[in-house]
Amino acid sequence: MESALKTGRRRVIQLASQVAALLLWPYRRRARARPSPATGAEPLEAVARVVLPGGLTDQARRQVVTGFWRWVDGFQPDVDLMATEDTAYLLELPFARKLVTARASPRQRYQAQLRSLDDEAREERGIPFSEIDPHRQEEIVRRQIEKAVDELALHDLNPLGAPVFWLPGPAAFVGTPADHVALTLMAFYFNSAEGVERSLGHSFGERTCRGFSGVAEEPPRGRF
């Protein structure tokens, strides 16, 4: 009798958990479709290993990725944006300028692009993007960046109208045909204070209202 009761209680618990699982299934499905930052960070950290300097530690790279997502989430829709011509000194400024309005955060688009990296890796190797070899990672990322850049001639971003190849700030890409998470991450990092400091070896403190102390001397050496 007692064992039958135990078996019964066990069965009830099993049934209850199965029912609970069924009830929770839509929420879990939505949770998978809306990856947690931890899930979204993994392929982006792999992308970061490709596009950012090799000297970054894992922790530093994670901090960059965290900062990038924080920047991504800071977009405000329905806000007037600067058009290139607003500060373009040489362009024939029409009295009426093009109206450009901000769109929503590009997070969903970027997560879709990261999923496509995973899809490509799984199709090819059966493993996620973050686990394939670095050379293959670079090939895939490079191809996707080239495709994005080809769709937007970079000189369109240069107000001087001359064909150049420079990497503007990340906001310049958002909403354009070149809006790819790998490209924007590069722009985010290499236009950041840390990116400049690590790359050029000096700390400039740009845009930080730094005063004039030391302005006539060589800028301080970078920390990296």
């Binding site: 000194y89 009295f95 109206l99 850049v149 190849f165 420079w166 990497l167 050029l200 005063g211």
Partner: protein, 537 residues
């Protein structure tokens, strides 16, 4: 309909409108009304956040500085916005505040060099007002060869290592450069702090850079003016005796019509709006527009084509030390070059080394490859030189109705149609050749190479359309900006330009505005003495 009455109605709350208002108020003129088509500018406390959002997200920092145009024939607005001049404070809320004076020769190009047109006043006539404008704006600079009765109100901000290197480099080629003057505090001045090198001058977060809304706010707080934003003047109405009786206006946020009645009107709405308004105020008695008995209204618009060059020099430049600060020389404004007497100003800055996504072979660079390329290019220096070349545009260059776009409240937008006639084209080409020759000479003597040259092209610092002159048959206004045809109507600002000059025009427009304000004040009977000059230094 609401009526606003005043003794002086200033249409346009930009830098010249603000200075006219200030001059009148100081002279004791009362009932000064200033109206502006745009909303009020961000108060200083809002500017730091606005600057950050601009830097991080490319958001327009001057919220609300736009009015949305509509396609002509359409009922709804969309697609184009008017700005950033549609804003209390106007363009000088976000200018780089470079404030050189014109050269004395700018006022006499026809009689000295055989091109252009002489102004109806001389540099010497305007000099006291230049000094006054520099004092009011708080201009910092160092002796630059311009004849002056007073020194700059402030010395220049401390020079960066980059500018020191550029100075030395140009010096090797026998070209002395000096600090460009700016309306930016190098020390606390006029209740505003010193510049602290934020390098975001498009929106100064500290108030160290002069902004016209500071003047307007101070006048308002002191009860000296009434400032009404979001008021668009659609027509001026002339009564008997050819005096302007009223300005018919629209309050754009409420839709209420306004009638502005005043003893004097000062049209300070800038280029091309001021000449456009006069043209749109045509009546049967004035079929080609007000103030247009000469037929020159809207014509002879001016500007100066610009050439920008990047030079690689062997000296190390960082380019990120103080990007908004430049050196310049007035030599070629005062000593024309070549058989065509080409005149231009020349300013120099250190260009930052930028990360390249593609290398020169066209390959996309990632990670360490990008860094290596960036570092390799950063061992030298890139100097960016800018030359504003003096040309003169003839009668064919004019303001026309834009065929495609209209104001949301009706009426076509203005469009500046520049035409390079034979003379202007020749001057532009000669200017380009002479600047190229100068660049080649610089690198040959001081070292380096010319990397890129763009221009001469475009026409920044545009103006004209209501040009000054002594002869009413060939000009719209006299040297005080008073229209020849309507005794109580003045024009202030860029539309008055007779020639475009070859340097930034704002300080000259400010000086003219102060002179106009003094004249109006004296006519009203107010006491408007100007500080006596002691002779040119």
């Amino acid at each position: 309909m609401r009526k606003l009455e005043s003794q002086v109605c200033i249409i346009g709350g930009g830098i010249v409108g603000a200075l006219v208002a200030a001059r009148l108020a100081e002279a004791g003129v009362d009932r000064i009304l200033v109206v502006d088509a745009g909303p009020r500018a961000l108060v200083p406390a809002q500017r730091p956040r606005s600057a950050r959002r601009w830097m991080q997200y490319m958001e327009r920092p001057w919220r609300g500085d736009r009015v949305v145009a509509r396609p002509r024939g359409a009922e709804r607005a969309g697609g184009r916005h008017l700005g950033p001049t549609m804003y209390v404070g106007g363009q000088a809320t976000h200018w780089n505040a470079q404030t050189p004076r014109f050269a004395p020769e700018d006022f006499r190009t026809r009689s000295l060099h055989g091109y252009g047109r002489d102004w109806p006043l001389s540099y010497e006539d305007l000099e006291p007002y230049y000094a006054d404008a520099e004092r009011r704006l708080g201009v910092s600079g160092e002796p630059d060869g311009a004849p002056r009765s007073t020194p700059f109100p402030m010395p220049p901000v401390p020079e960066s290592a980059d500018l020191r290197v550029i100075r030395a480099w140009a010096g090797r080629a026998g070209l002395p450069l000096h600090a460009a003057p700016y309306a930016k505090n190098s020390r606390s001045y006029d209740g505003r702090p010193a510049c602290v090198r934020c390098d975001t001058c498009y929106v100064c977060p500290t108030g160290a850079k002069y902004s016209p809304d500071f003047t307007l706010r101070a006048l308002e707080d002191a009860g000296k003016i009434e400032l009404v934003p979001r008021v668009v003047v659609r027509r001026l109405r002339v009564g008997d005796g050819r005096r302007v009786e009223a300005a018919e206006a629209l309050q754009t946020d409420t839709g209420q019509t306004l009638q502005l009645e005043s003893r004097y009107f000062v049209l300070a709405s800038g280029f091309p709006l001021a000449p456009h308004l006069l043209a749109r105020s045509a009546t049967a008695a004035f079929p080609t527009g007000l103030a247009n008995s000469s037929g020159t209204l809207g014509r002879f618009i001016q500007g100066h084509p610009v050439l920008i060059a990047s030079l690689e020099i062997p000296d190390r430049l960082y380019g990120r030390l103080h990007e908004q600060n430049r050196l310049m020389t007035r030599r070629f404004m005062r000593e024309p070059v070549g058989p065509a007497n080409v005149r231009f100003d020349l300013s120099a800055m250190a260009a930052p080394h930028l990360p390249y996504l593609r290398n020169r072979a066209g390959r996309i660079q990632l990670g360490d490859e990008l860094v290596s390329d960036w570092r390799a290019r950063s061992s030298g220096g890139v100097v960016q030189l800018r030359a504003l070349i003096d040309v003169y545009f003839g009668e064919a260059s004019r303001i026309v109705d834009d065929p495609r776009w209209a104001f949301p409240w009706g009426g076509p937008l203005p469009k500046a149609a520049y035409v390079y006639d034979e003379e202007a084209e020749a001057r532009r080409n000669a200017g380009g050749r002479e600047v190229h020759r100068l660049l080649d000479g610089l690198v040959a003597r001081a070292g380096g190479s010319v990397r890129t040259v763009i221009g001469p092209r475009s026409h920044p610092h545009r103006g004209g359309g209501c040009r000054m002159g002594d002869d009413p048959s060939t000009s719209v206004c006299d040297s005080f900006g008073r229209t020849h045809d309507h005794q109580n109507l003045f024009v202030a600002g860029a539309p008055l330009l007779v020639t475009g000059g070859c340097t930034n025009t704002t300080l000259t427009l400010c000086a003219l505005a102060l002179r106009s304000g003094e004249r109006i004040a004296r006519e009203i009977g107010a006491d408007a003495p100007l500080a006596p000059t002691t002779g040119l230094l």
